[in-house]
């Protein structure tokens, strides 16, 4: 384990939500020892959907792989002593306790910074821990919309088909994952400066969603208020082919030329005027009509294979099973064997990046509740 990037780093995680839990997961996969403090009945994430057939949480399995589990009842004096011991040894604390509950659980930031001057204390809350809405609560659905991205979904084909339906969330916990990745990044940034002391870091899931959605704020500054009905590529997008859906996007002239090749150089596409990218944008609906008609007549696998050969950016919308069994993913070692908390085997995505000079873990384990003995060093 000593070869991993964060070997020697010790993290205490007290989490109820996906964001803080994902931050801990990223740190753990990079080699930090992450001690998940759980109440006696276990983290609420242990029962969070989606569930596997035997009732275990697939979400918790993904998020907790590689962590240690320590039962710690923060409402009790024993729990407080345990917390004290763990923080004494920790470099980073990740906590998503709502502000009003913190003093009662020994998690007040000021007191923690007094007692543990070298600790990086990262707070991960839906709306952050400062500002007029710091006390607001939000689930994934609320937060994706509080950060501005939810309002813009769906765009393209889904919106064309169902223009009157409510906006749509992204699958799963996209907003929370942004908050978690931001928290992990901020944690390591604060830890980088720890020679001059620890500090408190305030991360908000809403901020993280707005941050990844910054382009829409930039468009507002340019004078355009984006809307899901108009935020679409002028041509390209989602197309239904035989056997599946294709994403197609040509941003550069050479890609457009290659698309014309892919389509078999039809007469409409050879129109001299369409050599101009601005004209193509103006006539996007017309182009998409032709492409849609062509796609419907061709097999999805043939389309994407030939498209990539010709240099047309195109991809099949792959199912989770196709991703898991993908030759590309297999050759890159994206997945590793996972031992579930009850000992059963599964597979899990290790990390969305590879460290070529020091490989990331080749096998992972979901911790059973309280598997870690209090006071142990590992």
């Amino acid at each position: 384990m000593s070869a991993l990037p964060l070997s020697g780093c010790r993290v205490v995680e007290h989490s109820r939500n996906v964001a803080a839990s994902y931050a801990g997961r990223l740190l753990s996969t990079m080699g930090a020892t992450v001690v998940l403090l759980e109440p006696p009945q276990g983290s609420p994430l242990r029962t969070a959907p989606p569930l596997l057939d035997d009732g275990q949480s697939a979400l918790f399995a993904y998020l907790s792989a590689g962590k240690r589990s320590l039962v710690c009842d923060l409402a009790s004096p024993d729990g407080q002593r345990l917390l004290e011991d763990e923080l004494q040894r920790a470099d980073i604390l990740l906590d998503d306790t709502p502000i009003r509950d913190r003093p009662g659980l020994g998690l007040d930031p000021d007191l923690i910074s007094e007692r543990f001057a070298q600790l990086v204390h990262v707070s991960v809350l839906p709306f952050g821990s400062s500002g007029p809405k710091a006390g607001w609560d939000g689930e994934e659905l609320n937060l994706l919309h509080a950060g501005g991205e939810g309002f813009l979904l769906p765009n393209g084909l889904s919106h064309e088909l169902f223009p009157d339906r409510p906006p749509l969330k992204i699958y799963g916990h996209f907003a929370q994952y942004q908050g978690g990745a931001m928290a992990a990044f901020a944690a390591l940034s604060a830890w980088w400066a720890v020679a001059d002391g620890g500090q408190y870091v305030d991360v908000s899931v809403q901020d993280a969603v707005l941050s990844v959605g910054a382009f829409a704020l930039q468009r507002l500054g340019d004078g355009s208020l984006e809307h899901r009905s108009t935020r679409r590529f002028r041509y390209g997008g989602v197309f239904e082919a035989r056997g599946g859906f294709v994403e197609l996007l040509t941003l550069e002239d050479r890609q457009w030329n290659a698309l014309v090749e892919l389509l078999g150089r039809p007469a409409w596409a050879l129109d001299e005027a369409l050599r101009d990218p601005l004209e193509r944008s103006r006539r996007g609906d017309e182009i998409n009509g032709h492409v849609r008609e062509w796609m419907a007549r061709h097999d999805v696998h043939d389309i994407v294979q030939r498209a990539q050969q010709l240099g047309v950016p195109a991809a099949k919308y792959r199912t989770p099973t196709e991703v898991l069994e993908g030759a590309h993913e297999k050759s890159r070692g994206l997945f590793a064997p996972l031992t579930l908390a009850d000992g059963h085997p599964a597979q899990v995505l290790v990390a969305p990046f590879h460290f070529r000079c020091s490989p990331l873990p080749a096998a992972m384990q979901v911790p059973a509740l309280g598997e870690m003995v209090a006071g142990s060093s590992s």
Binding site: P49, A58, N142, Y171, A193, V201, A214, H328, F355
Partner: protein, 401 residues
């Protein structure tokens, strides 16, 4: 050039990244205080310096979020002399970042092995659509394709509709993960002096967003798209209000919250209705719940209702557009939205540092989009020690272009 009190003060980045994902990642590092030197050229300027017709932008951008805090120098990397200068920048940098298609850096003579020969503890971030190795590594792609390849696009959508394309958030999510990975590599280098090549494939970031579904798939389950529904919460949805296109998002987590919701919205009888008493019962009646909520909310003001429900401890929020975001006092208070202006750029809002630090608090935006080559005197002159005459000669030979 660097601010006094930021967490990443003293870290320098040689930034060859292009498009959105890579530049977003280095922009985050720069907002936390790293000195980021952006390397481009007149012949291959960054995308924001050009019109972007497919996005409907017919001119160059005046302000570009992903270039804030960056210094700009020009190098025409088709020239061997420029490649030699690029290596000198890599040598004085802590981190080198690039987001070309796999193989391009090698062809330029700037591949990982070549850089490690120059700097034994180099950290190279290579961010691409499909990674540096593997059968698809030559594939070209943009954010919607990352989502398609990675499985996130398939799982997102109305249950009876097609998959949905991911947009810039997908690029930028890859950028956050890149910034995190860079920090992990920096800590590793500090501890053991190790060089590192980070191979980040944006499509794998999309897959990381469906990590739970991939665990299910590994056990033979076939997760499918479920729209706005949740498998343990009801009501859980986005509802129309009295105002056109003002939607209220609502997530009710348990029975007590359901009862509070019914009271707050003035329907105490529903709180007592056994059909809705338990989560299981409400999930069984999910469509009826949605109809009921749509009816209850149809004559209410969205923002006012969200505030009232939040006061009652319920998870409610209006589906905000960017004008709402821009007008929000909370985000302004936090500095997450921050006003920027400069010569030629009217006052506008940008996204400041997405985390607040109690001690190293001077994070955020301190410079806007750099003019092409505006920082050559500092970078080429001060940092690399080139004289005016040497730089003029390099311009003459179109090495600096």
């Amino acid at each position: 050039m660097t601010r006094a009190n930021t967490p990443l003060k003293g870290i320098r980045i040689a930034d060859f990244t292009i498009h959105a994902a890579g530049p977003f990642g280095t922009q985050l590092l720069a907002q936390f205080g790293a000195e980021c030197i952006k390397i481009e050229s007149k012949t291959r300027p960054d995308a924001f310096r050009k019109p972007h017709a497919v996005y409907g932008r017919m001119t160059a951008a005046t302000f570009d979020q992903v270039s804030v805090n960056k210094l700009s120098v020009r190098l025409n990397l088709k020239q061997p002399e420029a490649v030699a200068i690029a290596k000198r920048l890599v040598f004085i940098a802590d981190v080198t970042a690039e987001s070309f298609r796999a193989g391009v850096m090698q062809r330029l003579g700037l591949g990982f092995d070549a850089l490690r020969a120059v700097k034994p503890d180099v950290i190279l971030l290579s961010l691409s659509s499909s990674g540096q190795a593997g059968p698809d590594s030559h594939f070209a792609g943009y954010a919607p394709l990352f989502g398609a390849w990675g499985g996130l696009g398939w799982l997102t959508g109305y249950p009876d509709g097609p998959p949905v394309e991911m947009r810039h958030v997908m690029d930028h999510s890859a950028g956050i993960h890149a910034a995190f990975a860079v920090m992990a590599a920096l800590h590793q280098r500090r501890r053991v002096g190790q060089a590192q090549h980070i191979d980040l494939a944006a499509r794998e970031v999309a897959s990381a967003m469906i990590g739970d579904a991939l665990v299910q798939a590994s056990l033979g389950q076939t997760p499918d798209r479920c729209g706005n529904a949740h498998s343990s919460m009801a009501p859980h949805g986005i509802y129309a209000t009295a105002q056109p296109d003002r939607w209220l998002t609502l997530a009710i987590r348990n029975d007590a919250e359901w009862q509070r919701l019914a009271h707050e919205l003035g329907h105490p009888a529903a709180a007592l209705d056994p059909r809705y008493a338990t989560a299981a019962a409400r999930l069984d009646h999910r469509e009826e719940m949605d109809r009921l909520l749509t009816q209850w909310l149809s004559d209410l003001q969205a923002e006012h209702t969200a505030e009232r429900l939040q006061r009652a401890g319920l998870c409610a929020h209006v589906s905000w557009n960017m004008r709402d975001v821009a007008n929000d006092a909370h985000l302004r208070h936090r500095g997450t939205t921050t006003e920027v202006s400069a010569a030629g750029i009217d006052a506008r809002l940008a996204v400041g540092a997405p985390a607040k630090f109690s001690r190293t608090h001077e994070v955020g935006i301190d410079r806007l989009t750099p003019a092409l080559g505006q920082d050559e005197e500092y970078v080429f002159g001060e940092l690399l020690g080139m004289t005016q005459a040497q730089r003029a000669a390099l311009e003459q030979r179109e090495v600096i272009l």
